[in-house]
Symmetry: C2
Subunit: 150 residues, 2 copies
């Protein structure tokens, strides 16, 4: 799909993925080794009461689920940024995550007729439909080259 | 350091880390396999003219450099979120990244006397001092338990 196929209000849902304990501690061991992500004993004594996933692990799981849903990635020319990343609720071993997303802004480029900017709000849900994370990302997306030459 | 040791205006700089080609394509292969992160030929034909690091790789490198700088992590009780993530300039193989950070907001909790919220602006710089990425993160930090009992 191209920029023009994703108007404001377009929504989609991704497949789901379960985060297991080994995946959670493995990711955090490399990228976010805070005790409540990697150390069962320290996590039990923390306000979380047990190991929770790094928020970055949740974010990247949501992002890869989105790529796999094959919505905007063929048209992607990169991203200038993200906003309002919120971790709403801990993600624990065994939680099954999926993403529900909606286009909230779409602007064709005035200076570059081959592309546009699409902003999408992403909600990450667990197996109980509880919202565990939200974020908004802006994507630079190609327009259909048959209709909008560079 | 505790919440009270990091007032508004407190700044610090981290150590540095070089992202090499194998690290960039390895990270992206798992978490962000867009062609311009993993495929040399496709990347050469893209607007970037060659492989660039996933923005998430830059973000996580900055985050781990920050943990290693040992500023707030001993006091960390987690994070409610991040804002204004901006990728300003591509990161390419061989780039050497470091982080310059400044506390921009600090609020002791009214309801929970053992903690506060500290917001930090992070600038990620390369070996030429060019700003490649910025983000703001809020951290829940413990207060000194000898002075502020739970």
């Amino acid at each position: 799909m191209y920029f023009d196929d994703l108007p404001v209000g377009y929504s989609f849902e991704t497949g789901a993925r379960t985060l297991d304990l080994a995946g959670i501690t493995g990711f955090a061991g490399t990228w976010d080794p805070q005790p409540f992500h990697v150390d069962a004993e320290a996590a039990a004594a923390s306000p979380y009461g047990g190991i929770i996933a790094s928020g970055f692990h949740t974010l990247l799981t949501a992002f890869t689920l989105t790529l796999e849903a094959d919505i905007w990635n063929e048209a992607s020319m990169g991203s200038p940024g993200m906003d309002e990343i919120r971790w709403r609720q801990p993600v624990r071993p065994g939680d099954n995550l999926r993403v529900r997303a909606e286009v909230v802004d779409a602007n064709a480029s005035a200076s570059r007729p081959d592309r546009g900017r699409t902003t999408i709000r992403y909600d990450v849900l667990n197996q109980e439909d509880a919202l565990v994370m939200q974020f908004t990302a802006t994507h630079i997306l190609r327009r259909n080259p048959e209709k909008h030459a560079p």
